[in-house]
């Protein structure tokens, strides 16, 4: 059990450092409270977006929190991919250029896992393989229209 946890943790932490610095131009890593006996402690993030000194996770901005969370989810995906990912407007706190970065990242990861994302932001919609349009009919029921882009 300790072996399995440690192996997974090391790989996820390695991925996290790489992905976090790619997304935020800063440095970040995962920190175990008790590396000798992980099950007695917790797991935290030691992050410095754009290499700013950060006191506490709560002082991060809304966008920085979202980038940290997404970097964590992606670093797990790279180590142990889940069969599918369903994200509901995870880009709501991000500025335009961060939406582009996250969209590119999802495009890359979507070669090994299925991504089903809800988004209202143009750069995210533009990066997808295909778009499902959703509207309301006059009788108030939901209609889904498949817009199949070239599945290249």
């Amino acid at each position: 059990k300790f072996e399995a946890f440690n192996e997974a943790f090391q790989e996820i932490d390695k991925n996290f450092r790489e992905i976090f610095s790619r997304l935020t131009m800063g440095t970040g890593e995962l920190k175990l409270e008790n590396p000798e006996d992980p099950f007695t402690g917790g797991l935290s993030f030691a992050v410095q977006p754009r290499d700013k000194k950060v006191h506490h996770l709560t002082a991060l901005s809304g966008g920085e929190k979202s980038l940290t969370t997404l970097a964590f989810i992606f670093s797990i995906q790279k180590a142990i991919p889940a069969p599918f990912y369903a994200f509901d407007e995870v880009d709501m706190n991000l500025d335009g250029s961060n939406v582009v970065r996250i969209a590119e990242m999802i495009r890359e990861l979507s070669h090994t896992s299925q991504f089903i994302n809800i988004s209202l932001r143009k750069p995210m919609i533009d990066a997808a393989d295909r778009i499902l349009g959703v509207t309301i009919r006059p009788d108030k029921t939901t209609l889904v229209t498949g817009v199949s882009m070239d599945d290249s």
Partner: protein, 154 residues
């Protein structure tokens, strides 16, 4: 084991039977506010029994039945690429309701389904599903809870 089709009938704003095909790769769902996008994610969480009614923005399970129809059954069926089919149905009666779960055509209990899904890398608190407004949950949870994410997947 990705999702290849979702079939929804009388669940939330899906008052009419709806079949949604899914392909591997990157699919975006977009549309106006209130049109039913998040309800699609709710369908997935409902059928896979991964979420309580509170998380599905309903007080009781029977609130998930389409409000505008007088039909007493709501059903969601998910088909996966490896042929697995999971279906869940709620049936409302005068005084109570019934909740049915099917794994490949055979009725099963929630525990059995969750074990089956865990074997395929789908766990209840798995970070593969992020609901609307929930993106900062992982930052705001306790350090111990966060560590448990890795426990479950390792």
């Amino acid at each position: 084991m990705h999702i290849t089709q979702l079939e929804i009938d009388n669940f939330k704003s899906f008052g009419r039977k709806t079949k949604i095909p899914f392909l591997p790769g990157f699919t975006i769902i977009s549309g106006p506010n209130g049109s039913g996008k998040s309800n699609i994610i709710d369908c997935i969480l409902f059928a896979l029994a991964l979420s309580s009614s509170r998380h599905l923005r309903a007080e009781r399970l029977t609130d998930l039945l389409n409000l505008n129809s007088d039909r007493n059954i709501a059903e969601v069926e998910i088909t996966f690429s490896d042929g697995t089919i999971i279906k869940r149905r709620i049936k409302r009666t005068e005084n109570t309701y019934y909740n049915y779960l099917y794994l490949n055509g055979r009725s099963c209990r929630q525990g059995e389904l969750l074990d089956f899904l865990a074997g395929h890398g789908i766990v209840p608190h798995g970070y593969n599903v992020v609901m609307q407004g929930d993106i900062n949950r992982i930052i705001e949870m306790s350090d111990t809870e966060r560590r448990k994410i890795i426990d479950e997947i390792a």
